[in-house]
């Protein structure tokens, strides 16, 4: 994302913030609105179909959902520690915590896959009813974000020793990863608990 | 040269605006009177703003065009005028907004008593208006209901209560001469209550105002406003003419 080509620009601007970090926060602002669109729709159609929606929500596997919440929060911790590590210049620890984060992310996807499998085997699919439509679309978009996170994390891990990989890149990836966690923090009660 | 073209062009659009006046079609409903009144009020206010701003614009264009030996003034702020032209329109707009509330409530919030009103159900579908009266028993969805296609008959001077619903896509029930418009939503749970009256007999048109498919342009109906007596006779004749469903208990039998 750093500037390349003819016009090399140094990234620290008038505000003293690094361009890349500012850019990441701006990007996350738009992501918030993407999920606002989905959550708003869900909240409202849920109110319109209250009985059906709550009944269907009862069919979800709450323990697995809770497990996934724990996994994702733990991955947020390891991510924060990874950022802390590179800020202190400790690339060994950086690699360790990045690896842990990736493993946890994969675990999250694994649990998600098990859940999807359970639902499919009971013939609950996106067109069963409105609740499952939301369930699959929202968790699907979230899982896509997790997948993107895994890919980016792996790239960072692979390049963890390169000097071009400064703390800011890791911090930015961290920001993204924590955001994915925050989204799940809302999706979990929304879908599983109410 | 171009200054002149510009000025002339401005004055042309200007002139049309004033000469044209409000261009509403004939109105035959009570709510329509309120709506037309509000339309005119806004027309007057906006015309004043229009004349004022465009007049100033044209005047400045002529008055301050570049001339040798004159330099533009260096002014860029004036707290007094800026406050005035923020506060005054602000007050006008706020008053204008509040001034709309009553008519809106009459049109869409305060429904008339259903005892004294004529009740009609309208089911919109691509590209027809299905219209239904409850029949002599006063209950909808029974054998004696009276159904019509694209023709709505109402008595003059009596409130009409309509329940609207669509079968397939969104339509919009529009009576230009009664100043009535309401989108019709598809699905059994989306029935909408609507009311209006007409104070002049005659034949008017029903239009569909929301794009609903390739036949949207021809989803037209007719509205017949009768005197109450004419309406009663029409209704009675319709009931009489309606052949009761034959219940002989005898279908076409095979092997006879």
């Amino acid at each position: 994302m750093s500037s390349t080509g003819a016009h090399r620009l140094l990234p620290i601007g008038v505000t003293g913030i690094d361009n890349r970090k500012l850019g990441m926060w701006i990007f996350l602002a738009s992501e918030v609105m993407l999920f606002a669109g989905l959550i708003g729709s869900f909240v409202n159609l849920r109110a319109a179909n209250l009985v059906m929606m709550t009944e269907a929500a009862g069919l979800l596997n709450r323990p697995l959902g809770a497990l996934n919440t724990f996994i994702l929060i733990t991955s947020s911790l390891t991510m924060a520690l990874a950022v802390g590590a590179i800020q202190r210049g400790n690339r060994e620890r950086l690699r360790l915590f990045l690896l842990l984060t990736i493993i946890l992310a994969l675990a999250f996807m694994g649990v998600k896959a098990v859940e999807y499998g359970q639902k499919f085997s009971h013939h609950y699919t996106a067109h069963t009813n409105l609740f499952f439509s939301f369930y699959f679309i929202m968790t699907g978009i979230h899982a896509f974000h997790v997948l993107v996170g895994v890919i980016v994390l792996s790239v960072v891990l692979a390049k963890a020793n390169s000097q071009k990989m400064d703390a800011l890149v890791v911090e930015n990836v961290g920001l993204y990863w924590h955001f994915v966690d925050v989204v799940w923090i809302f999706l979990f009660p929304l879908l599983y608990l109410t | 040269m171009s200054v002149v073209t510009f000025g002339v062009a401005l004055f042309c659009s200007f002139g049309t605006a004033l000469a044209g006046g409000p261009w509403l079609p004939e109105n035959v409903s009570t709510i329509g009177e309120d709506i037309d009144h509000l339309y005119r009020v806004i027309f007057v206010i906006t015309t004043i703003m229009f004349v004022l701003t465009q007049g100033v614009l044209v005047f400045f264009i002529f008055r301050y065009r570049q001339r040798p030996g004159r330099r533009a003034a260096y002014v860029h702020d004036n707290a007094t005028v800026e406050t005035v032209w923020t506060v005054v329109p602000g007050i006008i707009l706020l008053v204008l907004a509040v001034y709309q509330w009553n008519a809106w409530a009459d049109a869409k919030i305060r429904a008339p008593d259903s005892d004294e009103a004529i009740r009609v159900e309208i089911l919109a579908q691509q590209f027809e208006w299905n219209i239904r009266y409850p029949g002599p028993d006063g209950v909808f969805d029974t054998q004696d209901d009276l159904t019509m296609k694209n023709q709505l008959y109402i008595p003059r001077g009596k409130p009409v209560l309509v329940q609207l619903r669509a079968l397939d896509v969104i339509h919009s029930f529009f009576l230009p001469n009664l100043r009535v418009k309401q989108d019709v939503l598809p699905g059994p749970r989306n029935t909408i209550l609507l009311w209006f009256d007409a104070n002049k007999s005659g034949t008017y048109e029903i239009a569909c105002a929301e794009l609903c498919g390739l036949g949207h342009y021809r989803m037209r109906g007719q509205l017949f406003v009768y005197t109450p007596e004419e309406f009663e006779t029409w209704l009675e004749n319709k009931y009489k003419a309606k052949t009761p469903p034959a219940d002989w208990g005898w279908g076409w039998e095979d092997g006879v």
Partner: protein, 608 residues
């Protein structure tokens, strides 16, 4: 600018300038996959001008049908519709309307103003060498290009392009059986808008980072040119409103593809066939989602145009813009209010009537900042010294026509009046006055104004003036009578107005409008010729042909590839015209250190 205590502090901004690298020499990197903001701006501009003619061409076909319903289309009718003897079928008409609206809004005005002028001017006006993320910028353009290719393709697939109006209300747009255009054409429409979302999000991200972070030393917030302010506000609008619609697009495509029913209620039937869907969804939900984007989007179409006019008027009046801070505050309040008025498009849709009253009040309040802007423009002319070059003519026309379009907005904001005029040509008149009379006029002005900086040559003045006069006259002839038709109840999106008895007496007006529209269309060919001719043959331009103040005029024309030899230091606001400080000259550029001894009142906060 006055009373800005921070202005001087910012001078110590920590920008570390590096000597620019040489320009890439390979054809691909230089002309096609360029990361230079000026090339990207030009690419956006050329593409959108192409789409202007596509969208305009569709409008011409529509106008033909409206004036002479079901008559054979001249020249191309037999080619397009051999089966019907050369007249267009009704589903073709609504497809024209849909794609005309979509193309004009998303592929012409927004990319021209934001992608074209935003990309070209923001780095120049804030004093940077390029955008914050040049590579993202390039990706943004190519995603936009792809989106345009998709929308053009959709015109030619079986069933035709989308035909649900540019607002694509479900269930019409979701159910394939409902209208022929809801087949593959609609899928492509959704794809195109999804790509547009990506392109515009990358663009606004870049704009915001650049404006916040890459301002030259001394370029404090209140020394930014108003156009850059407008781009900032617009970037926020796009960034935060488009994702909501993107969520809606995903849900809509899911409804179409995998059988969900977010927007489909229980128990729908089309032509006596029950629709197979779980149901429970809501058609109104889409309208909320769409207009949450749609309304901010219309301010995306007007705010940069307002910014352009705020740049052009001072230059040709030789006078500072009046009420600079009020202009900024007005733009920011238009943005804020713009986020909370979306439901005024849904007043007759079955909205909670109480809620509608709240939305009406908010909508009316938007006239306030808009009015402040109008009054400030007028006051800018007051006691000026006006020159009438082509950019100025377009800017003046903008003010005039924007007022008309804005004032008609008040009619529709008024709930009871909107009952009658909703979905009529009154609305068509309202927004064409703003989007054509406003945005497109401002765009023409801007093209004439910044052409020298883009191509190093001036556009022809005489051709420009003829184009202006013809466009101004025929534009009013096309759209002014539509107010009248609309008030009479002339419906939108109908292929044949003569079906209704009450519309038949007005058919002559439709013919008049159509003939005027052909003149309007023909007038645009003059522009096209002038544009192309001037790129190669126009008079060579000096660095600052209009004697303007903003940073882009302090460098050579056309702008060199790395913009500034050295990052400039900004000493004052951009509107220092006819002040005493300039001595004989009536302008002082933003980056000019004071050379002439001030002989009159000098601004406070000015390095004396």
């Amino acid at each position: 600018m006055t009373n800005d205590p921070q202005a001087n502090q910012v001078v110590r901004a920590p920008i570390h300038d590096e000597p620019p690298h040489p320009e890439p020499t390979s054809f691909w990197r230089r002309w096609v996959f360029s990361t230079n903001h000026k090339m990207i701006g030009k690419q956006y501009m050329m593409t959108s001008i192409f789409f202007l003619f596509v969208g305009g061409f569709l409008a011409m076909l529509m106008r033909w049908q409206l004036a002479y319903p079901w008559a054979e289309i001249p020249l191309i009718g037999k080619l397009l519709f051999p089966d019907s003897g050369g007249s267009m079928p009704p589903e073709f008409y609504i497809m024209l309307v849909t794609l005309h609206g979509t193309i004009m809004v998303f592929f012409v005005v927004a990319p021209l103003l934001v992608g074209g002028f935003g990309n070209f001017l923001i780095p120049l006006q804030v004093g940077a060498r390029d955008m914050a993320f040049p590579v993202l910028n390039m990706i943004s353009y190519w995603v936009f290009f792809l989106s345009g290719a998709v929308v053009l393709t959709s015109l030619f697939v079986t069933g035709g392009g989308a035909a649900g109006g540019w607002t694509v209300y479900p269930p019409l747009s979701v159910l394939k059986e409902a209208v022929p255009g809801s087949g593959l054409g609609m899928d492509l429409w959704i794809l195109a808008l999804g790509l547009m979302w990506v392109a515009l999000t990358l663009g606004s991200l870049n704009f915001l980072a650049t404006i916040i972070n890459m301002r030259a030393p001394g370029m404090s917030w209140f020394r930014l040119p108003l156009l850059t302010w407008a781009q900032f506000v617009v970037a926020v609008l796009l960034l935060l409103s488009f994702p909501v619609a993107a969520a809606g697009l995903i849900m809509m495509e899911a409804d179409r593809l995998i059988g969900t029913s977010f927007f489909l209620a229980h128990g729908l039937e089309i032509a006596d066939m029950a629709v197979e869907a779980a149901g429970g969804g809501s058609a109104i939900l889409w309208q909320h989602i769409f207009w949450f984007l749609g309304h901010p989007e219309v301010y995306v179409l007007i705010l940069p145009a307002m910014g352009i006019v705020s740049e052009i008027l001072p230059v040709f009046s030789r006078k500072p813009i009046f009420g600079y801070k009020a202009m900024v505050v007005a733009m920011v309040s238009i943005m804020g209010l713009g986020f909370i008025v979306w439901a005024h498009h849904m007043f007759q849709a079955g909205l909670n009537p109480l809620m509608a009253m709240a939305f009406m009040t908010a909508t009316m309040m938007i006239a306030l900042p808009s009015g402040v802007k109008v009054f400030n423009w007028l006051a800018t002319l007051w006691r000026g010294s006006l020159r009438f070059e082509t950019p100025m003519l377009f800017a003046l026309a903008f003010v005039s026509l924007f007022i008309i379009g804005g004032l008609t907005g008040i009619f529709m904001a008024a709930l009871p009046v909107d009952i009658h005029i909703h979905d009529t040509y009154f609305i068509i008149a309202h927004f064409h006055y703003i989007v054509f009379g406003g945005s497109i006029f401002a765009i023409f002005g801007a093209i004439h104004f910044w052409f020298p900086k883009m191509f190093g040559r001036l556009m022809s003045e005489s051709a420009g003036k003829i184009h202006f006069a013809l466009t101004f006259l025929s534009f009013n002839a096309v759209f002014f009578p539509m107010h009248m038709l609309g008030s009479q109840g002339h419906l939108r999106r109908i292929a044949d107005p003569t079906v209704y008895d009450y519309l038949r007496p007005m058919q002559d007006w439709n013919v008049f409008i159509t003939l005027s529209a052909f003149v309007l269309g023909a007038a645009q060919l003059i522009f096209l010729w002038n544009f192309v001719w001037s790129i190669f043959r126009g008079k060579r331009a000096e660095a600052n042909p209009w004697r303007a103040n903003t940073l882009e005029w302090s460098i050579a024309s056309p702008a060199p590839s790395h913009n500034f030899e050295e990052i400039p230091t900004v000493h004052r606001w951009p509107y220092e015209y006819s002040s005493n400080g300039g001595g004989e000259r009536d302008w002082i550029e933003q980056a000019e250190p004071i050379t002439v001894e001030a002989s009159g009142p000098v601004e406070e906060g000015e390095p004396a």
